[in-house]
Subunit: 103 residues, 2 copies
């Protein structure tokens, strides 16, 4: 079965992109050992300094959803929410076919 | 220095998405050992059956550009061009900050 991918955009309130990135990198460390995690990558947008992207690959959507309950993740989410500019948009869902250097 | 990321969309002519994906997966195998390659991932779009996404991470844009000259890659590009619906759009460039399970 192909893997489940999610490419999601988060917009920080003015001046808070670095803090948001830091929170997301902490989250990546927490979920790296969660079941079914193949990638959790945090990027800055080249064209909008307030935008941070998270690109995730999981065995299944269920594994992704379960990652939100990993110890410490809810705490990080609660730190991120006040510095988000509005609600996160629906991420782009992908069906991962394969490729190089994916765990 | 942060890594260079590219999230690019390719649209196949009707009925050719599987062939296009196959060509891109062959390309991923060729570039996996190229200098600076950290990820070359091929995905199907969940909402448009003709769309294939390629998500790449390299040490630098230069390493990405050099990958287009890897032996066999030009041949694969020439196989892909006739089944593309128009020219590929400019990919989304990302500055990779880090994350889990990235090589």
């Amino acid at each position: 079965m192909n893997k489940y991918g999610l490419h999601g955009k988060l917009t920080a309130t003015e001046g808070n992109a670095e803090k948001l990135s830091s929170i997301l990198l902490q989250a990546s460390a927490l979920v790296s050992t969660a079941r079914g995690c193949h990638l959790y990558m945090v990027s800055k947008d080249k064209t909008d300094e307030n935008v941070v992207w998270v690109t995730e690959v999981w065995d299944s959507k269920e594994d992704h959803d379960n990652s939100l309950t990993v110890e410490g993740v809810r705490e990080l989410i609660s730190q991120a929410i006040p510095i988000l500019n509005g609600r996160p948009e629906q991420g782009q869902e992908l069906e991962i076919l394969g490729g190089a250097d994916l765990k």
